[in-house]
Amino acid sequence: MEQQSRQAVPRLDSDFDRLNRDWYIDKAVQVLVFLGGISAIVFIIGIFVFITKEGFGFLVGDFNFREFFFSPNWRPTSENRETFGILALIAGTASVTGLAMLVAIPFSLGAAVFIAEFASGKTREFLKVTVELLAAIPSVVWGFIGLAMMNPLIIKTFNVPVGLNVLNAGIILGLMAAPIMTSIAEDALKAVPDRYREAAEAMGATRWQVIYKVVLPAAKNGLLGAVLLGVGRGFGETMAVLMATGHSINIPTSVFDSVRALTATIAAELGETAAGSSHYQALFTIGIFLFVVTFIINLLADLVVRGVRKG
């Protein structure tokens, strides 16, 4: 009853409820930006689909799980019998990445602690900017540095015949990964609330005790995330390891051995293979392996870092 009497009043119009141009534009934009938003997912799936598509023939044909992962013989162009074993390539990637982390983890974490907890004002600003700039140096330039500067330096210093080896690539990769790890680790340290520090200081702890007993434990997930991202970066690096490892298939027994990395193999050989050949498809299969491993590393890093945010 009452409802009816309200609607009967003529002076009150409800003209505003028309769907006008602005409304349609708003809806259209909403759809467009949503498409932009899902593009990242589309591309990740697309990457997996397309490299699997190209490598598919090998996966269902010549691919032999045992040979692929456990044979050190990568002889894709052998005339007698092609073998596609990536064990030596994995060893190459692992040795270089391992050495790189040995270099990068202590120094980047040390630098992160210094920048976050000790440096202040201008020094801090300067170090942060420098670290950011170092992170921007392209990998092909690092490769060139390994080739043109580190190589003769290693030959001279250690009196070895070849300077393109695990040591060279490991140091290069370490220097490359360190800035990124430093800035992520520094973020993690900065995310530790100041009240933790103040509480510890109030109890009479010195600066380094505060860091050692309070800040580092509180930031440990973020620091682990930084390390994982560094590992992922080293694992996936291409140009620098292509140019600095010496690019010869080897399971290394010393840091002076030349090795060859998974990524570098693709970069070096894809141009010389015929599309659709077993060799070509095997290279894409290495790509699938790289994709899956880095995906897992990134996922882990994300989960670890997210843990820190929840806590």
């Binding site: 309200r6 609607q7 009043v9 409800s14 505003f16 769907l19």
Partner: protein, 264 residues
Amino acid sequence: MVIAPPQGVTTTERPVKLGVAGLRIRYGEQTALEGVTLDVYEHEIFGVIGPANAGKTSFLKAINRMDMFNTDMHVEGQITFNGLDTRKVRNVYGLRRRIGVVFPLPVGLPLSVYDNVALSPRLRGEKNRAELDVIVERCLRRAALWDEVKDRLDTLGSMLSGGQQQRLTIARALSQDPELLMLDEFSIAVDPVTTMRIEDVLKELRQEVTIILVTNLVQQARRLADRTAFFLDGRCVEVGVTEDLFTGEVQDQRTRDYVDGRFG
């Protein structure tokens, strides 16, 4: 849940601008306001008084359909604007354009003072500079801000003082040329003299606009409001002619206690 309309107030004499029936607002499991049934007539100043956390601001947000941007906020019951159920409105933006709101925290947008006030007309499609000039000056004058900013209309609205930003917010709400103007404790950041000037403007505006005035100052409601609702602890305790709440008969003793300043 539904409370009968207060006696002595007939609903058929004047057109109902805003009809509220059985309104309940909750945030997650927490109920902020419930059992609100009232009508706001065209061209009246409708006061809403009550202590903090009575649900006054949530009430305004529900009218303005701001729950759309807050997934946590749930509104039940019916609110009609010009007889149209606001829950069933297709173009919420069209609805909001007819409703001007001033919330207690002043927000000067990071645009020039001029652009702040000209924003709403521009959103409507007004491009004529001379026309915009007129609107900007009129709204700034009504909000008692014109004299202070007329020589620096290109200052960023977000860089004005708190009190100025509050009046800028009022000017912006006026620039919408709203049918319903809702003010939520507008005088919090404004000095008493300016408050009085704005109150005078509101009295004038009653000729053109319906006004809902949420205030924590009972005397302000008494000065301005034709009728007033008293909210307490998430419930609408009483709706009546303002003067009755202060001197006449009240349905609930708590209303009188509150307006007399015995709690709140």
